[in-house]
């Protein structure tokens, strides 16, 4: 039997221990089968996004890469697969016991895992955005305003982190990955249906505007650009650029629009689909693109902060009975 060497007990720094938790979590995340599946799905969606306009013979689009952004489903998917069993899975498998018996505090474990989730999502999005940018160059020719790509990426990460926070909170409270998934999925579907129903049937500006304070797509409007700005990029992707969703899922896309059209306003209208014939659109309200961005970022950070606080508190207070 080999004789053990007495280790000199150093007082480890906070960062050393925090980074150990980050490594622990990152290795878990990148080896998850569901994460690899999510990455494949994201690539398929990006490929469809890239290929469909080409098949429809849209022609040259020098703004494809600059205006590329993930959608609600992508944000939900990445939020779920990276955070779904981040903490609840530790309880379920019993691995929480040896982990918390190490000289790491629960706050350190919580934020270490959160930071690892951030890194994994960031790297995944960098890969996906790089793929769409290269794809844009190959399919649609030279691309303009490529400096906007990182802006859309940052916005998409903020949108994704709402779901990370929601699923972490549900997981920390229930200590069950399945319940965390079902809670987040229920919320996602409810928001999707709720927003669709309100957008289709409500002609009340307050109700439609209220959608902007929920996570998700928010209200839908049309961007009204100035003549000069319109001329700059008109005849290119006017349809996708002028359609605006004002919720937290469109932070990345709207930040790009705000840079391209800093003075643009967005018109929110309602079309009465129940009348016969279908009524003409009536204007509900108008907002500047910058206000939409600031509000969406504020709402997103508020949800992220509230849900993360709930998750952290539940984790901090939990009894390790496993």
């Amino acid at each position: 039997m080999t004789k053990m060497q007495k280790t000199v007990r150093a007082s480890p720094s906070w960062f050393t221990r925090f980074w150990a938790v980050v490594r622990y979590e990152m290795l878990w995340n990148i080896r998850k089968k569901k994460f690899i599946a999510a990455l494949i799905i994201a690539f398929v969606l990006a490929t469809v996004d890239l290929a469909v306009p080409a098949f429809l013979n849209v022609g040259q689009n020098p703004y494809f890469a600059a205006t590329f952004s993930g959608g609600s489903f992508t944000f939900f998917l990445f939020g779920i697969v990276t955070a779904m069993n981040s903490i609840s899975g530790e309880y379920e498998s019993g691995t929480i016991v040896p982990l918390l018996a190490k000289p790491v505090s629960r706050t350190m474990v919580f934020f270490g895992k959160l930071f690892a989730t951030f890194i994994v999502i960031l790297v995944s999005y960098i890969v996906i955005f790089s793929y769409s940018t290269i794809g844009g160059l190959l399919v649609y020719g030279p691309q303009n305003s490529l400096y906007l790509v990182p802006l859309a990426l940052v916005g998409d990460i903020i949108s994704t982190f709402i779901w990370v926070a929601v699923v972490l909170a549900a997981g920390c409270i229930s200590k069950s990955s399945l319940l965390a998934l079902l809670t987040a999925l229920g919320l996602f579907i409810s928001l999707f249906l709720g927003v669709s129903v309100v957008a289709a049937f409500s002609g009340n500006a307050g109700v439609v505007g209220g959608l902007n304070y929920l996570p998700g797509a928010g209200a839908s409007g049309t961007m009204n650009v100035t003549a000069g700005q319109s001329a700059t990029i008109a005849n290119v992707t006017v349809n996708t650029l002028t359609s605006v969703s004002s919720g937290t899922d469109s932070i990345g896309a709207n930040m790009v629009k705000a840079v391209l059209f800093p003075n643009a306003s967005v018109l929110f209208t309602h079309t009465n689909v129940l009348s016969n014939p279908i009524g003409p659109p009536t204007l509900l309200y108008t907002e500047s693109i910058s206000l939409i961005i600031l509000r969406a970022i504020g709402v997103a950070f508020l949800y992220i902060a509230v849900f993360l606080l709930i998750a952290w508190y539940a984790f901090k207070r939990s009894q390790i009975l496993e």
């Binding site: 053990m4 007495k6 007990r9 150990a20 878990w28 040896p98 018996a101 000289p103």
Partner: protein, 315 residues
């Protein structure tokens, strides 16, 4: 005295259930302390409080002279802990797990590079350290559990049922390992259902039931809590009267019986006196074929205490 573990009126309730009830436990440093009790006695709950995983309802806990608080990371720097049937992340390789845990203890790269291969070798996982833990057998998980408990060369090692899931060879290995680490100056606090294991390796024992201490002392004193004296069986080629007379002359011998060529000797001490018996037997011309001492009666003490505590009914 400086204790490795000291609890004062430690109480832990889960709703109406009192899992640990005013437990006063003292574990001396540099000892191997066995922690015994039937299922549900409160052993694992006590251990979880010791390592800061559970918050006590009442009472205080000091480990290595430091008051234990839930979520006090630094209080665990000097403790190595292996839970009962430990579970580790299946996606990590054995060596990766030890490396990450080593980082959590603040071990330098050099320390980890030296310590991890030694521990892997020590617990018998050499050649399997780069396999995913998900592919490990229950016994191998137990072995990596022991390795991670010793990773930081702790002053105090807490092992909750370390032999569960191990094959007989593994169980012997664990016993040898515990003896070795104790010789290196570590205090070992070991919870076990295996009384013979505790008898073989522990020098101190605490028996608990319903969350309270029934007995806590040296193994010798706890074993002596019931009156039955140990017996030594000596088998000889020829058992002569001279041999019997020589044995009777020993001060600790309280009685002898002859059965064929076997001499049964009742002794009034719990020390191992077989060497002295052997000396006088051979001195009197006896040729010893075999000698054994009746196993220590910790099991009897344990059953007696538990039965008494439960009003005459054993579990």
């Amino acid at each position: 005295m400086d204790y490795a573990i000291e609890t004062t009126d430690l109480t832990k309730c889960f709703g109406s259930l009192t899992a640990v009830n005013k437990l006063n436990l003292k574990v001396e440093k540099n000892t191997i302390h066995g922690f015994l009790g039937p299922n549900g006695a409160g052993k694992t709950t006590t251990i979880k409080i010791l390592v800061g995983l559970l918050k006590p309802t009442e009472g205080s806990v000091k480990v290595l002279g430091q008051e234990v608080q839930v979520d006090d990371a630094d209080s665990r720097l000097g403790i190595g802990y292996m839970s009962e049937l430990p579970k580790f992340p299946k996606h990590l390789k054995g060596a990766e797990l030890l490396d990450i845990y080593g980082r959590m203890y603040g071990m330098s790269q050099q320390q980890r590079a030296e310590q991890i291969p030694k521990l892997i070798d020590m617990v018998g996982l050499k050649g399997r350290e780069n396999d995913l833990i998900g592919k490990y057998s229950k016994g191998m998980q137990q072995r990596i559990g022991i390795a991670q408990a010793l990773l930081n060369s702790p002053e105090l090692v807490i092992l909750d049922e370390p032999s569960i899931g191990l094959d007989p060879v593994g169980m012997v290995d664990v016993r040898e390992l515990v003896k070795t680490i104790s010789k290196e100056g570590m205090t070992v606090f070991l919870s076990s259902h295996l009384l013979f294991e505790v008898e073989q390796i522990c020098d101190h024992v605490t028996i608990i039931n319903k969350g309270s201490v029934l007995a806590s002392d040296t193994l010798q004193n706890v074993s002596g809590m019931i009156s039955e004296s140990p017996m030594i069986h000596v088998e000889l080629v020829n058992l002569s009267d001279a041999v019997i007379a020589a044995v009777k002359s020993l001060t600790f011998v309280s009685g002898t019986w002859k059965t064929g060529n076997t001499l049964l000797i009742q002794v009034s001490t719990r020390d191992d006196v077989r060497a002295q018996v052997s000396k006088v037997v051979t001195g009197a011309g006896g040729v010893i074929v075999g000698m054994s001492q009746k196993a220590s009666n910790l099991e009897d003490v344990f059953l007696q205490l538990i039965t008494k505590d439960q009003g005459g009914k054993t579990q």
